[in-house]
């Protein structure tokens, strides 16, 4: 591997403009993500975070701009090229999006069988190992409907990691989870970073997760990047929306903590 290859960002987004019908959801978004770091994309509901994620994997075709994954343009790629590029990306959906007609292990084994062309028993064995690595040892034979919300998210992450992609995309991994499960997921994400050979882009608005995992952050508001840099740099941005986001999250966090304390005390 050459030094020049190492300098190529894992993910480059250039002037991305995207939307649905007449509505523009992303308006000139640019960002980069590198190997060995966790980039957090944050913003309020409706700011365009999920649309950005869908553009990154070609589910939404942008009106202009481009997305480069390891230097390869996915926005203008043919179907075959896009499929090749996507093998370098794992996306864990907010609601996991596991195939409901398959067990958790079969879900994880599916991309392994199709892309690594290994026989199904071997792929299932590997899938169980992937599930064990996200704390789901022994849950491989369960159907998605038999898993809890946190377990489904973990299984979704295991499937996204099935082919050991260098780029992992996570859509609201800790949304709707209790604090303990959310913390465990944060640790899991930090574990991916510790491998040193991959990068993570995590879309979230959970301040607890942001504080724990973010190396760098990009904040979106109404389809524009209004702040980017390290978390401290983002916090220090003199933009009312950034300040409001962090303060409101803090107030909510404190309220949640005080309610939790109260409940614990009454018990």
């Amino acid at each position: 591997m050459t030094a020049a290859r190492d300098m190529t960002p894992l993910l480059t987004v250039e002037n991305l403009v995207a939307g649905y019908g007449d509505q523009t959801v992303l308006d000139g978004v640019s960002l980069t993500a590198n190997v060995g770091e966790i980039l957090v994309v944050l913003g309020a509901t409706g700011s365009g975070k999920s649309t950005l994620l869908r553009c990154l994997v070609g589910l939404v075709q942008p009106r202009s701009g481009r997305v480069l994954i390891r230097g390869r343009d996915i926005t203008h790629a043919s179907r075959t090229e896009r499929e090749a590029i996507l093998r370098d990306v794992g996306l864990a959906f907010q609601d996991a999006a596991l195939l409901n007609s398959m067990t958790a292990a079969e879900n994880v084994a599916l991309p392994i069988v199709e892309h690594w062309h290994v026989d199904e028993p071997t792929a299932l064995m590997l899938a169980r190992m992937r599930l064990a690595s996200v704390g789901l040892a022994g849950a491989g034979e369960k159907m998605p409907s038999e898993l809890s919300g946190g377990m489904r998210k973990r299984a979704g992450i295991a499937r996204a990691m099935a082919l050991e992609p260098p780029l992992l995309l996570l859509d609201e991994p800790s949304a709707g989870l209790d604090p303990t499960t959310a913390r465990a997921l944060d640790e899991l994400i930090l574990g991916f970073k510790a491998r040193g050979n991959m990068g993570v882009v995590c879309v979230t608005h959970e301040l607890g997760s942001i504080n724990t995992i973010a190396d760098r952050a990009v904040m979106l508001a109404r389809g524009h990047v209004i702040a980017s840099g390290t978390l401290e740099e983002v916090r220090a941005t003199p933009d009312e929306r950034v300040r409001a986001f962090f303060e409101r999250q803090l107030v909510h966090g404190e309220k949640r903590a005080s309610v939790a304390d109260e409940l614990a005390w009454t018990k």
Partner: protein, 351 residues
């Protein structure tokens, strides 16, 4: 006309009737001065009247609206206060044009789906070929499970055809020709069509429901992000299973239908078993059976692709899956009957 001071249930009903009594194109000015106070329920009633009147083609304008009331109405729909917009009702030509464009768009999408399905199925074997394990599973669902209902329905159709024919043919002492009537009708028309209608109801709806449910739960998107082609995984096995099983079911339907005619001919009309069977064999040409089988293959393609198209078109929640399922069955049946009419016309003029 004046808006009542309070928009209670009775006042609202009378007010609505008064407003809607005006013909399309009329400008109706609603004088809101009497509205001393407008609560949420009153605002909802007023908005409903305005929306219905505009839908009916009336030009509704609001006069003397208090600021508080204006603000309340604007929270629900700011556009409702836009008095210069054209009436909501489209003229019939616009409606016809819009429907035609929608139908043309759907036809193009179905054609693309056929092309993609054919491209995915072009390489039947090998690593990137047809998923035969899934196809066999679908063949069992499409074919084996449908055998009892297809046989039962076709038997009854055979009985009905022969009983109806018997009433007429007996008058001329030509009851034996019921064998011709049933044999030719079943193999050329009724067998393929009845089987297609049953399979459209069972399998077309199942295809739309399965793909639609996967669409709203983001499973299709998940497959795409894993670089797995949903057409190859979901559509090709179902269409191939239909293409293989529908002709077989049609053969069973033909046999069952002729069997129904045989029962009536032998046990009700006393035609004699050998006479009935030999008359059937004499009446039928191999081309009759082959015509039916060609039709059934086309029906199979239509049912599979229309079901898949309706499934992929699902937007929204579970109720959209229900609608897609219904429209998959209706569209598939219409498409099959239209194709059947084309085939029949073609064979009539070419033979």
């Amino acid at each position: 006309m004046a808006v009542p001071a309070t928009l209670g249930a009775d006042a609202d009903r009378a007010f609505r009737q008064d407003v809607l009594r005006h013909g399309a194109g009329t400008t109706v000015v609603l004088d809101c001065a009497p509205l001393a106070r407008l609560d949420a329920l009153g605002a909802a009633r007023l908005l409903r009247v305005i929306a219905e009147a505009r839908h009916a083609g009336l030009d509704v304008r609001l006069a003397h609206l208090h600021d508080d009331a204006r603000q309340l109405l604007a929270t629900v729909d700011p556009a409702i206060l836009d008095e210069d917009r054209p009436p909501a009702r489209r003229n019939p030509f616009e409606a016809i044009g819009e429907t035609s464009l929608g139908a043309a768009g759907a036809a193009v999408s179905v054609a693309r789906l056929v092309r993609d399905t054919a491209a995915s199925a072009a390489m039947p074997f090998g690593r990137d070929g047809i998923k035969w394990d899934r196809t066999l599973q679908q063949m069992s669902l499409v074919g084996a499970s449908a055998v009892p209902i297809v046989v039962f329905m076709s038997l009854l159709i055979g009985v009905v055809l022969s009983l109806n024919g018997a009433q007429q043919l007996r008058q001329f002492g030509a009851a034996i020709f019921i064998a011709n009537l049933v044999g030719i009708s079943m193999t050329r028309e009724m067998g393929p069509l009845i089987t297609a209608i049953i399979v459209a109801g069972r399998t077309g709806s199942a295809i739309a429901a399965e793909i639609g449910t996967m669409k709203i739960s983001e499973e299709i998107d998940a497959m795409r992000t894993m670089a797995l082609d949903p057409i190859r995984f979901l559509v090709v096995p179902k269409v191939v299973a239909l293409l293989l099983m529908l002709p077989l079911l049609t053969v069973l339907s033909n046999v069952a239908g002729i069997g129904g005619g045989y029962l009536v001919g032998v046990f009700f009309l006393d035609l004699g078993s050998n006479a009935y069977l030999s008359q059937t064999v004499q009446a039928l040409f191999i081309s009759d059976v082959l015509t039916g089988l060609v039709k059934s293959a086309v029906f199979a393609l239509l049912i599979g692709v229309v079901g898949a198209y309706r499934g992929f078109s699902v937007r929204g929640g579970p109720e959209a899956v229900g609608r897609a399922t219904t429209s998959a069955v209706v569209t598939a049946i219409i498409a099959c009957i239209m194709a059947d009419a084309c085939f029949t016309a073609f064979f009539y003029f070419t033979e």
